[in-house]
Symmetry: C2
């Protein structure tokens, strides 16, 4: 029951469609994205989608999974190269800013767009978006807790509190850089987290000065 030629081709086009869907959804949202435009952008027919997905919602859920894997590959994985503790925490922040600054997605951040789109309406997609945010927040919180355990952050640090600050300061770069500040927003976001971590770190030499 291994992958034969035909299913392989199917998988390939499936992945190609999901990649385009995530890119387009980072601009117009998962619901704002229409199947007709997605078909035009991928050079396929609209009706062909329903061989891969039962309906639009299933495609949205798979696009969410695809974006999660992209985030794991391009943001989380590079940061894990840094030594555990406060350096990995800051590497995570910098990897995210690099992801935005490099313009990997045309809309800047898939998750930002989708969170803003679904935070108010019920449904399967909303639940998966909420889970993705929860897991991301929990992941940052664990990195903070680890840094505290290693003695690289003050004992008094509230991990969930600091995780919120790091995420908020990183996330708002998307809209500020596009509507207002340009690259300056990246500088602000980087410096905000860097100085916050340095202030809480008994050995600030672990982090760059500026």
């Amino acid at each position: 029951m291994t992958q034969d030629g035909r299913r392989l081709r199917g998988l390939r086009s499936r992945e190609a469609i999901l990649e385009r869907a995530v890119a387009l959804a980072s601009v117009e949202g998962l619901d704002g994205l229409s199947l007709g435009r997605l078909a035009a952008a991928t050079g396929t027919s609209k009706s062909g989608f329903f061989a891969h997905w039962r309906d639009k919602e299933q495609l949205q859920l798979d696009a969410l999974d695809w974006a999660t894997r992209q985030w794991a590959d391009q943001v989380v994985a590079p940061a894990m190269a840094a030594p555990a503790g406060v350096r990995r925490l800051f590497a995570l922040h910098e990897a995210r800013l690099r992801f935005y600054g490099d313009g990997v997605l045309p809309g800047g951040c898939f998750f930002f767009t989708v969170q803003a789109e679904f935070d108010d309406r019920p449904g399967l997609v909303r639940d998966r978006v909420a889970r993705a945010l929860r897991e991301w927040q929990e992941f940052i919180r664990r990195q903070v807790a680890q840094a505290v355990a290693q003695g690289e952050l003050a004992e008094s640090v509230d991990a969930a509190q600091l995780a919120y600050e790091i995420d908020a300061l990183g996330e708002m770069v998307v809209v500020h850089s596009r509507l207002h500040d340009g690259p300056v927003a990246l500088v602000h976001a980087r410096r905000a987290v860097l100085q916050r971590l340095r202030a809480l770190c008994p050995d600030p030499t672990l982090l760059p000065e500026d």
Copy 2:
């Protein structure tokens, strides 16, 4: 050429429609909001809109103005009651969090939704959204600069940098409280700015301890 009875009625329904439009747009966005649903929500006919607005874009622009006035009345004005300086700066942050926490708009924040919606597409609406964000950011920056001038914040403070931090920490409450944290997000956002200001303030007794 003063307001006569008829024009007054027109103005009243115009304001009522804009209020509903802002409330609905805080959930579905300015473009996601359809004229048909807005008509149903206001108990009027869709075609009646075109007596007040040339097209949907004009209605969107007026809704933006309406939301700006609402923000000025319900967030900025109350904060101006606090004495200028670091106390007014924090009052501004608290007024915003109260606006979110009280659920004044069903979607939490009109501007958050609309920024996420329009940060990627060109047009008149996008330009006005960008201007609103720029003016808001500039307003916070002036409050920071004033606090520095009064000696209530350290001389070394970069006003634009601190303004970005205050705005980002306040804005991300919307999505975090709705998708993840609930009211805890409000606590995180409040404490983050409070502790940041206290750390920069030569006389921390101007601000609450926690």
